[in-house]
Amino acid sequence: MMENAQIKPAEGLDLYERMLRIRLLSEHILEVYRDDVMETPVHLTLGQEAVAVGVCAHLRDEDVLSLGHRTHAGALAKGLPLKSLLAELYGRSTGCSGSYGGSMHVYDPEHGIHGSSAIVGGNIALGVGAALSFKLQSKEGVAVSMFGDGACDAGVFWESMNYAALAGLPVLFLLEDNQLSNVMPKSKHLYPDPRAIAANFMPTYFADGTDAISVFLSAKEAISEIRRTGRPAFLHCPTKRWMKHQGVEEEDLPFIHIDREKDCPIQKLESFLLGARMATPGELKQVRAHLEEELEAAIHYARQSPYPPVQALEV
């Protein structure tokens, strides 16, 4: 994986900071979730941080990210302020969706997040629509439709790739393949190799979804190709979901093998940065300290924020 000539130290540290921010949020949720202070189902991204972060490193604010139900990593990687997400999780009116969305429905158009959806697959089409919008307005921009292997079962996956290819649209189909649809292994829900399907429509790329550098490098190639040609591309990132589909319990399916040391995208990146002398242990520690402070402040902000007025529902 480690092609250190192709990544600058600042880029490596940025990946590290973004992944750790997501990780710390997950850890906070694990701490408090059983107390029902967050009354919303959470689909945690523990173990999957590298995919969103490695891709979003190449996106600008105006580029669009269309997310499904597992939102936290993508949203934070794209730039959604942590405090807005936390306030949403805590059900407060200062949340990114004004408390009307919860964990699965995040909104931050300033950072190219025009909403996210909890019905698997449909958000793929919305990313294609954003790409159509860029094309019709002659704007430079890339849309990313991010989805899991479960979404590849749905007709909208095919329909969206077909239209994006026919119309020639600047969209990245980003498959964050955790190899599970709820508790169903991919072998039981998806017959063909999704990358082989995609290859009928567009160039495809591959990365190790537990390795931020691998995702960073493949995404760089895919997104430059999209920017250059204005046409779609597909990036397949197998990864591992550490938790159950929803909630704060660890995954314990017999056919899933997770080594939390070896499979951890953050530890992998740490070793890489240190090994390549792109960062010192002190620098990494400093990043963590800064993020811990940021998280504390965001938690405080969320908890101090008002709940929405119930009068809003009176007709």
């Binding site: 449909g122 919305l126 919008s133 019709l136």
Partner: protein
């Protein structure tokens, strides 16, 4: 299919610049596209040589008319994605029967998107669909479905009956920053009426009287409004006839005012009867003006079965002006208090 045999319906005689319903729609789209470069039309066969029954032919900006594959569900998501990122799409379907293919996007995405993010997003999306029976087309090409879609919170449902309303309501729908389902009855496409040349809008939720009278209120949208008016004029019925223009939002006050005066209500709705628009209007009056129902409230709709193909059955399935007139006469002749609430 011999459309010409029945395509032009009885229509209101008006003075002014006369335009067909179809050309009024076309003019609205053309003017909107000329005014705002963000307006574009997209849909299955939208860009072919027939131009959606002529409603999109010879536009000034053909480059903004996009055809699509037969992928209604994804394409609704594509239109929504474009609407969220600065465009004003008009997604067109030549038959309303194709909309259920896109039910995930319409139900879970389009109608929810604004509320689901705290009211923040702008969703300037118009979904046009042509409704109504054809000619022996059977169950899958003859539906109306406006009641089913009006059931969804977050979606307006518009049903113009006249060329003037077709243009003004479509321009209003395009101008709004929220999703609108715009349902055009196929049988009205050749009807003519006075249509102003300039751009104008008609607000959603404002119904209109098509005829004034004191003995019976008829509420009827879309083609049913025109057939009801024909029935009233041909049979000289003393009827207050309300065309709600939009199923949702509904002009509740207009209906209640009329029913309070006439004491009798007939809803003529060319849609299925259960949990539908007609039931909604009866419920409105039952909730808000039960005293006015003492001389009866009835609905006239399709039977609660899918449309059959045979002409004999198809003609019986759709109400028509003669049957509306018969029903109205029977209701008017009933003395107040007699047969209440039936």
């Amino acid at each position: 299919m011999p459309w010409s045999r029945f395509e032009k319906q009885w229509s209101i005689q008006e003075e002014g610049r006369i335009l067909s319903y179809k050309d009024a729609l076309r003019e609205a789209i053309d003017q909107a596209m000329c005014l705002d470069p963000k307006v574009f039309a997209i849909g299955l066969d939208a860009d072919d040589c027939y131009g959606v029954y002529g409603s999109m032919l010879n536009l000034s900006h053909p480059e903004r008319v996009l055809g699509t594959p037969i992928s209604e569900n994804a394409m609704t998501g594509v239109a929504l994605g474009a609407a969220l990122t600065g465009m004003r799409p008009i997604h067109i379907h030549m038959r309303v029967d194709f909309l259920p293919v896109a039910m995930d996007q319409i139900t879970n995405y389009v109608s929810k998107w604004k509320a689901m993010f705290g009211g923040k997003p702008k969703v300037p999306l118009v979904i046009r669909a042509v409704v109504g029976r054809g000619w022996g087309c059977g169950a899958q090409h003859s539906q109306t479905l406006h009641g089913m879609f009006a059931h969804l919170p977050g979606l307006s449902v518009v049903t113009p009956a006249t060329p003037r309303d077709a243009k003004g309501l479509l321009l209003q729908a395009i101008a709004l920053d929220e999703p609108v389902l715009f349902l055009e009855h196929r049988w009205l496409y050749k009807n003519e009426g006075a249509v102003p040349e300039e751009m104008y809008t008609i607000p959603l939720g404002k119904g209109q009287y098509l005829r004034r009278g004191d003995s019976l209120t008829i509420v009827a949208p879309s083609l049913a409004a025109i057939h009801s008016l024909q029935a009233c004029e041909e049979h000289d019925l003393d009827v207050d006839l309300i065309d709600p223009r939009t199923i949702k939002p509904l002009d509740r006050e207009l209906i209640l005012d009329s029913v309070r005066r006439t004491g009798r209500l007939l809803v003529v709705d060319y849609d299925s009867p259960v949990c539908g628009f007609a039931s909604e209007v009866l419920a409105l009056v039952a909730e808000e003006a039960p005293e006015a129902l003492l001389a009866g409230a009835q609905k006239m709709t399709f039977p609660d079965v899918p449309m059959p193909a045979s002409g004999v059955l198809e003609r019986r399935y759709y109400p028509d002006p003669d049957r509306i007139a018969a029903k109205a006469k029977a209701m008017i002749s009933r003395v107040k208090g007699e047969g209440a609430l039936v």
